[in-house]
Amino acid sequence: MNSFITLFSGELNRMRKYNILAAGIFVALLWVGVLFFTDIEDITSMVPLIVFIDATSMSMVLIGATMFYEKQEGTIKTLLVSPIGKSEYILAKIFANISSNVLTLVLIYVYAKLFKEINLNFFGLLGASILIAFFHSLIGFIMTYNTKDFTEMLMGMMKYTFIFTIPVLLEQIGFIKNETIDKILYIIPTKSSSILLQATGGGMDNWKTWFAIIYLILATLGLFFIVWKKFDDFKIKESGE
């Protein structure tokens, strides 16, 4: 536990020093800018969309950025011969990542509350954002394990976005209205992520919300196990196979 706290605070410190946190805040301010320039007063339906994009994409990018920095600087090697558990290492990164997502969420929500109209359950939004960011941080780990550099990792992320994120967004904004496609989308984790965020505005069928929660929790547990297990292969690779 002590190692986790050290690793977590170390992650936050490095995110600050390497301007990763600043990049996160910059993106959050961009979203605030989008909200500022929009004519719509009630942005209840827009905020879940923004949080959805941030919690999915930024989570993957930030994991990749911090891990590739560690690879590039060789620090991963020295961390691997330190008295830390692999769960501690993985969780410290994820929680640091979630902190950045939460900061973005708070910035957007505060702006919306002060200058626009918003009717979302903040704590529901917070919980959903954490769960989605946790899951997508794990996706970020898988991508980092399987790519040689940050550019390749970004390409992987783009593929994920095209396959899993864009169809859900198109369906959410009403561009896709086909019922069969809508049903098929339930297979992918981004659909559950979207449902969960929309549910914070109310009016969502209970079964859909519960489905999304259970889906994401189970998927997160399963993925965490894979990330944990595959860490050994990553260790071999990073120690200079």
Binding site: T78, V81, D233, I236, G240
Partner: protein, 284 residues
């Protein structure tokens, strides 16, 4: 401290074994040199001993217990010094050291160590602004900061000027005198000669020679003495059998009557032994 029996290892993507059934031991309080050209399995052996690789065959006992039975607490007992930089470049040296210190239960007085290696004055500089030699010294501090019982060092003086290399070697000697054990990997045979109690030469994943540097020199060297002396206007060189020296009249006559320029026993250097037993030069 370590007993390695019939250790074999193959990387998942390789067809052939990188380590091929090696056996040796590292005794408590010794500096053990693991030597050989690149790619013969030295680093792999070190990675296995530092638990970075665990899918090996054979047996490794650390303090009479199977190495595989140790968990992360094993890292409280070891320090690993890497050849390449392993620090966060946008953090200062002190921030790096403090971060890694917090991961351990036991800590060394790092300020004193930073002073010894000549980095104390620059501890507030970002590591990215450090020279190669400074990074090498900081790596050494990183390896020592948990007061390890065993130190794994990979080329600890590579890239250092003679003055700083001397400081690092003195610290290693002090560490050994206090009971520390060292596994040293280096291409610099002078360092090996000066520091190591025993050395193992590796070639093709196997240990081809293991002994003290002195015994190896005796084993591979010629028991001869070569004398260079002035003879009239010229210089002459003669070689004598070391074991029959006291009865060798010619040798005694030269010593008594000639101006000696140089006199050397013909023992082999570790460089020569390296080339002889591994089949390649130390630069490779």
């Amino acid at each position: 401290m370590y007993q390695i029996n019939n250790l074999t290892f193959k990387y998942p993507k390789n067809k052939e074994n990188t380590i091929r059934g090696i056996s040796f031991q590292i005794q408590d309080g010794e500096i053990f040199g693991l030597l050989g050209p690149s790619g013969v399995g030295k680093s792999t052996t070190q990675k296995i001993l530092t638990k970075l690789l665990d899918r090996y065959e054979g047996q490794i006992l650390y303090k009479d217990k199977d190495l595989k039975s140790y968990n992360k607490s094993y890292y409280e007992e070891i320090g690993v010094g890497f050849e390449m930089p392993v620090h966060f470049s946008k953090l200062t040296a002190e921030e790096n050291v403090n971060f890694f210190k917090k991961l351990y239960k036991t800590n060394l007085d790092t300020d004193s160590l930073l002073k010894k290696v000549g980095l104390y004055e620059d501890k507030d500089k970002k590591v990215g602004e450090y020279s190669k030699g400074m990074k090498v010294r900081l790596n050494f501090v990183r390896a020592m900061l948990n007061e390890p019982k065993i130190l794994f060092l990979d080329e600890p003086t590579n890239g250092l000027d003679p003055h700083n290399a001397r400081i690092i070697k003195e610290i290693i000697k002090e560490y050994k005198e206090k009971g520390g054990t060292v596994l040293l990997t280096t291409h610099l045979m002078n360092d090996v000669d000066e520091l190591c109690n025993r050395v193992a030469f590796m070639a093709n994943g196997k240990i081809v020679e293991i002994d003290t540097p002195k015994n190896l020199k005796l084993k591979y060297g010629e028991r001869k003495v070569e004398v260079e002396y002035r003879e009239g206007e010229g210089i002459k060189k003669e070689s004598f059998d070391l074991d029959a020296l006291k009865d060798d009249e010619k040798f005694i006559e030269i010593i008594k009557n000639k101006e000696i320029l140089t006199i050397h026993s013909k023992e082999m250097t570790l460089d020569d032994i390296f080339i002889k037993v591994t089949g390649v030069s130390t630069d490779e």
